[in-house]
Each structure stands twice: as structure tokens, then as C-alpha cells.
Symmetry: C2
DNA sequence: ATGAAAGCGCTAACAG
DNA sequence: CTGTTAGCGCTTTCAT
């Protein structure tokens, strides 16, 4: 690797002049230097520059699972925004593991100028001390800290859940199952609260009894969705829900799989709506009705927030932590419809309808 | 940021001793140093270390589209493997743009010890000079270079395509459409060749005429799949294919969307098989039969190959470029079945069958 | 406009 | 085992 000294020597100037040349300052031997640089194929070492300047020109991005389409989209949005400013992306995948996350944050924070992180779902107590970081931080998707000095990009989970309930109620549903995410995470909690509140607003029972029957709380994984749906299907026939709201894409996918396996037709026997759109949601069986949130935009927004802080002088007065809430929208596709009882021809449940639920008991025992 | 000098002073030793302490060498004042480091919260600067050692402890990963599930899985596999060795991942997203790719390679190569790249699909001439890089390189998924000194991790595209054809032929199909990727890319070309060869092996016509009718060549994007499928559907009824093989996940998804839009039932009127599995393929309408290749494993393999090179002494004799081909497998789900004509009751095509194709002409005009 | 020189934080001879 | 010192490649005063 050719360095600045060799260039300086070959061009007959000092290293300082070559450095100034690269800084865009006017130098006498512009031409000579330019040619020498090209001849030697010289490139300034980013490492040495960083050591001198104290800036890495890189930002860290830490997500729970890059293979989850939501986070992949998030990263894509961040990458584009960072790249356009000449910044590198250092990627970390926590696998939804708090210990792992702590290690990643420690390691990546040392090599970047700022961090965007979608924190692991876990008790607050087990969380790394984000406040200890000495670089700017932007939290995405999940809000885990009371610390006022970090930015956050979230979506209006309450409004999203309410949108889902409104939609189902307007179709005539009254027994609505809810497959919830963990309540100690903001998305999980927010969608849960939004669900209950919307239910009450529609004058539907949302008491403890309702919760015990129709609400299943789990993690955000597909397996949890499968299990929750299976449990809901196991309810006595007359009390089983006519619609189900899945609190995340994976949860909903799991529920769909359970429905498939148990031969329950959607939306014929049961309507399904999910939180989070997916590129392939229109191709699902049936096309999935969802609450959509803009994942790429969420990433881009987080990046812009971060660069806003990075651009400020070190001496400037500290910005208070911003909290940006992105809007969600209802996308109606084929998986939601009026409940059977509300159909024009209220066909008495025949054996083919009942069978899946009977079969179910064996499966869940 | 506290540095090594402050630690040395506080502990009453020289910086060299502190450095040795961190290198795991035996030092007299182990205890004192350990305590001082903890008190001051000292962490060695990776930047300074790298400048000194010449190693970044980071590898670059460049993919065409991180939001594509295949590449997301690939990155996940690489990340896990790198992380377990204490290496950082620097991520680049080319958006399938050769110019963009060149810039990314130039930028990322300067900040990492090795590169794993799934190259953009483009004419060879427009490719960056990978040979010019002075760090190890592993090519994944797509093979673009004659250069013998780089490693490659690919899958057996020919065998995969043959697997798909075998499956369709065994079901009784004889007019098989093929939605191909670009022929100037190895995956595109390989699957194309495999398709044709398998056809011939089954004694089916695979001449120029066949190609003109049943083979549609495009890019690897969903939109291309949609268009190709639309064109295939526009063929005169008696000559239209009874099955279609999509050369990539996006291509197949696009084809499925076209089929949906035109009201063609799958596999009733047309069987569909795709290259690349997807986590949600079982949930598609209908569950998609695919040729599966292991994306996470492909990423992990690429990373292992790269670290194999990184671990070698600079002086060691250069390893020849390895070429690892990972196996593919057929996963039969619901989107493939015997053709209509082979069904027990060969129902004469009625208007409902014809309609979509008639409607089609308007749409494609 | 330019060069000499100091220094970012660390490691590795070298001499003890 | 330990301290002194040079130096990784660059930028930036400080003079000139």
C-alpha cells in the first residue's frame, strides 16, 4: 500500500501539501500531484484519517433478526441514507438475545460514530446501559429506555391496533381473538393497550374474562403464533373467536399456518388481520389484510435523525431526545370478511365445519 | 476517551506494560493494572490497533438487495460466522447497480480484511476489476470472473433446474414454460442450460421454436416474472404451457401474482415450481413447490472460506481459488399437480377456463 | 502556498 | 519482566 510520503517524494512536495491537495485546498503543484497520485494508485488510509480526526465515518446498526423482512427493510432504508453521506454500515444481529446484544453494542460502538438499534425484547433490567454510550443513539421500533437524550423512531402501535379492531367490528365481529407480543416491549404493550381500548370504545366486553379467553400473550416468533392460534381454536365452539388479530408478521404467519394445518378456512370460518405488511402478503392464502407500517421509511428516518446529531458541533447545546411516530395504515385484502353468523345464509354448522375443532383437541392435548 | 497513557500513569507502569497486560502476557502488576483499567473504564482503541497491525478485524459483505430474503439469509449466515471470530461486518447494498457496486467495493475494501460479494448482474465488461483488490475475495451465488485466485460458493443450478423438470415431467407435463433470469449471469445461464438439457433428456422438444414460445428471459425482478407469465398466458390456448418453472424467488412470485390477477387456478390450470425456497412458501396460495438451496449455509460457507484465507500467513504459498457447490433439493408442496388433460375427467375447456386468457389479450395489448 | 514537526493511540523492537 | 523509543499514515499547527 502506497502512502502519502511516497506520493510526496515522487511529486517533489511535502506530505502536508499532498494532504492539503486531498482536502481541496489550492496548491501550486495541483497537476503534478494529481498525476503522481494516479500513477501510484494512492488512496488515503481511512484508518489513519480516523485516528487523527476521531470520526469513524461509520454507523452501527443492530437488529434482532436480519432475516425478518421488517428488519431487512429497516436496514435497507438506513443503508441507503448512510451511503449517500459516505458513511459505512456496521451490522450486528442479536438473534433476540440480550447478552449477545450487550456484546454487540460494546463492540460496535467503539468502531462507529453513532448507533441505530432495534433493541432485544427483554426485561428492562437485563438491558445494557444505553446511557453509558458516548455516541449518539437512535432507538427504532422498540422503546426500552426512559433516557430522554436518545432519539426514537416508532410507529403508533395503539392507533394501528385500533384500526384493526375498527375494521373487524365494522364487518360485524364481536368475539375477536388477539395474539399479542410480549407486554414488556413497547410494540407488544402498545398494540395490546390499543386493542383493549378500541374494544371498549365499541362497547364490547374487554374485562378480565375476555382477556383470559381471547388474548394470548407470547413472544414475537412464528412458533408462538402457531401455539396461540391453536389454543384459540381449542375454545368451545360457541365461544370461539370469529376473527383474530396477530400482533406481528411472524405471529400472524404462525397463526395462518395453524389455521391451515387444522383445516380452518379463512376468512370463511375465521377472519385474520396482522400487524406488519409483507411483500408477499398479497400472495398468501388468502391475501392477508394487514396494518402496514413503512419499514424502509422508518430506517431512513432513524438515519436522518442520527446524522442530524452527528452533524452538530461537539460544543453545541445538547438536543433533547426526539420521538418520531410514523403513521400506520389499514390494507384490506382477502383474509377478513363478515363472520359466518352475519352472512346472508347463516348455514348451520355442519360436520365439515366442526371437524377441525374436534380434531384440534387431540392435537393440543 | 481514556487512553493507554493515562492507565499507565495511574497504575505506575509504562504504556508498554499495559499493552502487554492486554496481550495476555504475564506482568508483575497484573492486579493493579486490572483495577486501574476497571476504575478508569479503559478500552483499547480498535482504530489505533488496526493502524498498527494493518488488520481491520472486519469483513465487507456486498449484496444486490438486502430486502430479498435470499440475501438476508446469506448475510445472516455470514454475520454469525464472523461474529463468532470477533469480526465486524460492513454491509453494502448495491441495488443491482454496477456503478454503485464499484463504488461500494472501492470504499469497503479499504476498511476490511476481506470481501464477500454477491455480484451485480451485468455484462462482464462493466464489472469492476476484482483482481485488482489486494484483499481476499469470496464470490457468492453469482460467478462473474475467470480469475482463478478467488473462492466461490455457488449452488448446482443445472441440477436444480433438472430436478424441477424431472418433477414436472413425472407429473405428466410436456409443455413447460420457463421464466428465465438473465443469461449473462451464472445462475441465470446455469438454470437455463439445466432446463433445456433436462427437457432433451426426457425426449421433449427443446428446439428454437420451443424456446421462442415457452422461454421468457428477463431480469431477476418480480416485475419481470409478472410480465413473462402474462406473455406465456397470452399464447394460443392449445399451445399454452401446462406448467411453469420460475428461475428465482422474485420471478416466481411475480408469475404467481400474474396468475392471481388473471384468475388462473394453480395447480388446477397451471402448475408452478420456483427456484429458491422462502420462509413463507408453505403459506402461499397455493403452497409453493420449490427447488431449495440453503442460503444461511451458503453465507456461512463463504465466511469460512474467507477466514481460511485470512488465517494464513502472508508469506504462505497462495491458495488456488476454491469452488464450492452446495446441493439443492426438491420440496414438493401444493403448486404442482398433473396437467388438466391428464386428469381422470378431461373436462372440455369451458368459458370460465377460457375467460382469463381472453381477458388477457386486452391486458397485454 | 509551503515545509517541518508534533501527535492521534497503540504495539514491538531493543536494551536492560 | 520492564521502560524507552520509534513508527503505523495521516492532519494540522506554526513558522516562513
Amino acid at each position: 500500500m502506497v502512502n502519502i510520503r511516497e506520493v510526496a517524494r515522487a511529486a517533489g512536495v511535502s506530505t502536508a501539501t499532498v494532504s492539503r491537495y486531498f482536502a481541496g485546498q489550492t496548491v501550486r503543484n495541483h497537476e503534478t500531484i494529481s498525476r503522481t497520485v494516479a500513477d501510484l494508485g494512492y488512496l488515503p488510509s481511512p484508518l489513519a484519517r480516523s485516528l487523527k480526526s476521531g470520526r469513524h465515518h461509520a454507523i452501527g446498526v443492530i437488529v434482532p433478526d436480519i432475516a425478518n423482512p421488517f428488519f431487512a427493510g429497516l436496514v435497507k432504508g438506513i443503508e441507503a441514507e448512510a451511503r449517500s453521506r459516505g458513511y459505512e454500515i456496521i451490522l450486528g444481529n442479536t438473534d433476540e438475545d440480550a447478552r449477545h446484544e450487550r456484546a454487540l453494542v460494546a463492540s460496535i460502538a467503539q468502531r462507529s460514530d453513532g448507533l441505530i438499534i432495534a433493541p432485544v425484547l427483554a426485561e428492562t433490567s437485563s438491558l445494557f446501559r444505553l446511557g453509558d454510550l458516548d455516541i449518539p443513539l437512535v432507538l427504532v421500533d422498540r422503546d426500552v429506555l426512559p433516557d430522554a437524550s436518545v432519539d426514537r423512531v416508532l410507529v403508533d402501535n395503539e392507533a394501528g391496533a385500533a384500526l384493526a379492531v375498527d375494521h373487524l367490528v365494522s364487518l360485524g365481529h364481536e368475539r375477536i381473538g388477539f395474539i399479542s407480543g410480549p407486554l414488556d416491549s413497547t410494540p407488544g404493550r402498545g398494540r395490546y393497550e390499543g386493542f383493549l381500548q378500541a374494544l371498549r370504545q365499541h362497547g364490547l366486553d374487554a374485562g378480565a374474562e375476555y382477556g383470559a379467553e381471547y388474548i394470548r400473550v407470547g413472544d414475537f416468533r412464528e412458533e408462538g403464533g402457531y401455539r396461540a392460534m391453536t389454543e384459540l381454536l381449542a375454545l368451545p365452539d360457541r365461544r370461539r373467536p370469529t376473527a383474530v388479530f396477530g400482533a406481528s408478521n411472524l405471529l400472524t404467519l404462525g397463526a395462518l399456518r395453524a389455521l391451515n394445518d387444522h383445516g380452518v378456512s379463512v376468512p370463511g370460518q375465521l377472519s385474520v388481520i396482522g400487524f406488519d405488511d409483507l411483500s408477499f402478503a398479497p400472495l398468501l392464502n388468502p391475501p392477508l389484510t394487514v396494518i402496514r407500517r413503512p419499514e424502509i421509511e422508518q430506517g431512513a428516518t432513524a438515519a436522518r435523525l442520527l446524522f442530524g446529531r452527528l452533524g452538530r458541533d461537539a460544543g453545541a447545546e445538547p438536543l433533547p431526545g426526539q420521538r418520531i411516530s410514523l403513521p400506520v395504515e389499514l390494507v384490506v385484502r382477502g383474509s377478513t370478511a363478515a363472520p359466518e353468523s352475519a352472512a346472508p345464509e347463516p348455514a348451520a354448522p355442519d360436520s365439515s365445519t366442526l371437524q377441525p375443532f374436534d380434531k384440534l383437541r387431540e392435537l393440543t392435548s
